[in-house]
């Protein structure tokens, strides 16, 4: 299954494309601030960030409920709240979907969180709607890493 290229704007205001990460395994986390399971998911993503080199695996958490009123400020407040209240530093790439919900419509129309693992060539290797554990995600990442 080939993943279509998509673009998003990072919290720093930079436009990024999936193709910018070709050569690495990408974990795409389509999430929303107003989604409790998405908050639980952050703990699992943090384990990925801690246990894999950023040369091999990239995590992209994209807020796909911008069309429902979520903003960069809300996303930033969420990241700060994790740091303040859980001492959990979410230091991977965070971004936002556009107001039309382009990424949401393609990748998260059944709900959030929606998780995708892309292989190094940008093909979707694994997808799952709903919270997923580090154990399952790391197994799929390991498989995707040796695939190419």
């Amino acid at each position: 299954m080939t993943g279509d290229d998509f673009s998003f704007v990072t919290l720093e205001g930079e436009t990024k494309h999936l193709r910018d990460y070709y050569g690495k395994v990408v974990v795409l986390d389509c999430m929303a601030v107003n989604c409790q399971p998405c908050m639980y998911q952050m703990f699992e993503l943090k384990k990925i960030q801690e246990n894999y080199s950023s040369n091999d695996v990239v995590i992209l958490s994209i807020d796909v409920w911008v069309s429902k009123g979520e903003t960069a400020l809300m996303l930033q407040q969420m990241i700060e709240a994790f740091e303040d209240q859980a001492n959990l530093i979410l230091n991977w790439t965070f971004g936002l979907d556009d107001l039309d919900g382009t990424i949401e419509n393609s990748y998260a129309s059944d709900g959030v969180p929606a998780l995708y693992i892309y292989d190094k060539k940008g093909n979707i290797y694994y997808s799952h709607v709903g919270y997923e554990t580090y154990a399952t995600l790391s197994t799929k990442i390991d498989e995707a890493l040796v695939k190419n």
């Binding site: 929303a32 107003n34 409790q36 399971p37 639980y40 703990f43 429902k68 709240a81 994790f82």
Partner: protein
Amino acid sequence: MKNKRKIIPIIVAISILGAIASAVAAAGLVTFGTMTITPTEPAALSTITISIPITGEAPSEVRVTVEECNGNTGVCYPDIQNVSMALSNTGNYEAEVTLKHADATYLTCQVFAKISGAWESSARKNVDLSESPNGNNGGDDKTPGFEVVVFVIAIGISLILLRRQRVK
């Protein structure tokens, strides 16, 4: 979420959502009272009444969002309902909302009031849903739900109609 839940992430997640809500509502010109949901533990697909007192500057518009989630699969559905609330004779703002997802296990409600052109928001309220009378709440058991019964009846009626047509 099966056995995936751990108590610390849950507590942290709830406090983080609370912190975000209170940060947003910090500079408010209105005060949101306690939101009440009737019935207190509604079933999936049922109609609920949401009520909240709002004091301070009179809002020009009040709306409530209702987000349905399934705690077993850890997913929140994107079709969030955004419903206008009317001022009732009890002085509270009220709205009736019919829930959409048979497998939702909880919902989150948040009220927004428009004051001088700007929206202010209440704290979010989580409500656990009771076991659906249709038998499908949670979705983990193998018991057929109401829609299966309807489906079987529909097939039965179709077969009867087909037989009648053939007889004619």
